[in-house]
Amino acid sequence: MKLLEDKRGVVRVIEAFLASMLLMSCLAMIPAQPNLHDSTGNLASTAQNVLLSLDSNGHLATLVDNRDWTNLKNSIESALPLTVWFNLTVFDENMHVLNNFPICNGGAVSNSVVSVDYVCASQNSVYTIYILRLQLSQVGST
């Protein structure tokens, strides 16, 4: 009963408890490191490679000239691995969207999406400028 009635050391316990809470709250503020591993860097490189290779003879610009969105989708799809989700948006020089339906292979499969812009020009005498925005995401990445 005497021990319970003696309150002289309680402050130290409260101090220790507060110190512990302070320490824990500081640690909780360390941001979680996203698991970057390999996807983003590789995907950006893949996107550039695909666009450059497919447009090496002006093929992509010709398809955009003809508003041939189906074959544009087929071209991009053929050059990408099956495990990569893509979404292509075609803009004119004033950044107005030209494709009137989505050029993609389904819904996004991951929150980690890489976007690459590619500028190409049509091969005809008008020399129209197009901006192709290719977004890629790896199936299975976080």
């Binding site: 021990l3 003696d6 002289r8 050391g9 309680v10 130290r12 316990v13 101090e15 220790a16 408890f17 110190a19 512990s20 320490l23 824990m24 640690l27 360390i30 490191q33 698991n35 970057l36 591993h37 390999d38 860097g41 590789n42 490189s45 893949t46 490679n49 695909v50 450059l52 290779s53 497919l54 090496s56 003879n57 093929h59 189906t70 074959n71 087929n74 071209s75 799809e77 053929s78 050059a79 691995p81 099956l82």
Partner: protein
């Protein structure tokens, strides 16, 4: 014991426990960060090596056209204006079936990869599969109905087909197409006496891009698709737009040689005394297929080889080990192919 001492001991225990938990938390957090940084560095490092192999022509820049070993490994076409264009001979020399192929050791050392496993695979973008549905014989002629399917990454695609039938003293060609379901049919008729060693060469060109042109070979005598050429009688080595022959038989005589592309067919100008002949530079966005026939000790043979000599998968076997794959879409002689460069994990 006074109450204050008991409380102080209790307070110290709490703070010590908190410190220990915090230390463990920091260690695990930092370890994840260190591992991620290491992984990012490793990926960047390997990506840079893969990019160098694809974008650099190597040293000397024409190492593909001779039997020499490069001092710096790179497979890009020299002085090319097309991005990601590979040299047809450098790629062909990576195929181990070619007598002029460079060894895995040379690939490793000239890439400056001291302790990293390397693998290189080149494949056609569009796969072509051929199956025989039926055959029938009538009036000295045999008819075969072949089913041809075209797909990219297992997705069916429509393509136009150009087929060549090559048999003993018999040549023919026919056209067809595959529908949106990726399926098409071809009927082949050849004299029954010429069935031995007869083959059908199928070229398929995707409807949406003429640079996606693939080939497939079907052997009519045993009703199988041949993915790699046999070298039972002689080895065919295309390099530097020359086709050289190597054989161990002194009785072997080459009779005819042909080169096929999607749109063209031409005879090879073969001199009986020479062990090589020129390959015509056909202007066509298509792989080239060379077919040579002849007789060895009274046995008729017919062999083929593609130029560039793809598909192939060369280098380390990564089964059960870490494999970092970097995929590229590349152009070889106007045709699109898929290139996969694989590296093993870095030794720490």
């Amino acid at each position: 014991m006074p109450t204050s001492s008991f409380d102080t001991f209790f307070a110290c225990t709490i703070i010590l426990a908190a410190a220990l938990i915090a230390t463990g938390f920091v260690t695990s957090t930092m370890q994840v960060r260190i591992d991620n940084t290491k992984s990012i560095n490793e990926q960047s490092y390997l990506q840079a090596i893969a990019d160098h192999i694809v974008a650099s022509p190597g040293t000397p820049s024409n190492w593909g056209t001779s039997s020499s070993v490069p001092t710096d490994f790179g497979i890009a076409a020299s002085a090319s204006t097309i991005p990601y264009e590979l040299d047809i001979d450098k790629v062909t020399r990576l195929n181990s079936q070619n007598d002029y192929s460079i060894s895995y050791f040379d690939m490793e050392t000239t890439s400056r990869l001291n302790s990293i496993a390397l693998g290189i695979a080149v494949s056609q973008i569009m796969e072509v599969s051929i199956e025989q549905l039926s055959s029938s014989t009538s009036s000295g002629e045999t008819s075969f109905i072949l089913s041809i399917s075209t797909s990219i990454d297992s997705e069916p695609v429509s393509a136009s087909l150009n087929c060549y039938v090559v048999a003993k003293s018999y040549l023919d060609n026919m056209t067809s197409s595959t529908s949106g379901t990726g399926l098409g049919y071809v009927t082949v008729q050849i004299p029954t006496v010429a069935i031995d060693n007869a083959m059908v060469i199928v070229f398929a060109r995707a409807s949406f891009d003429d640079r996606i042109t693939s080939y497939a070979i079907f052997n009519l005598s045993n009703s199988t698709q041949e993915t790699i050429p046999t070298s039972d009688f002689l080895t065919l080595n295309p390099i530097d737009y020359k086709l050289s022959f190597s054989t161990n038989s002194s009785e072997l005589t080459i009779q005819n040689g042909y080169v096929f592309s999607y749109s063209h067919r031409q005879n090879l100008a073969y001199m009986p005394s020479a062990m090589q002949c020129a390959i015509p530079e056909i202007v066509d966005k298509s792989p080239l297929i060379m077919v040579v026939d002849g007789v060895d000790n009274g046995t008729y043979f017919q062999q083929w080889v593609s130029y560039p000599q793809v598909p192939f998968d060369r280098g380390s076997d990564f089964s059960g080990s870490q494999q970092n794959v970097f995929s590229y879409t590349v152009t070889i002689n106007g045709v699109l192919y898929r290139l996969d460069i694989s590296f093993g994990g870095l030794t720490s």
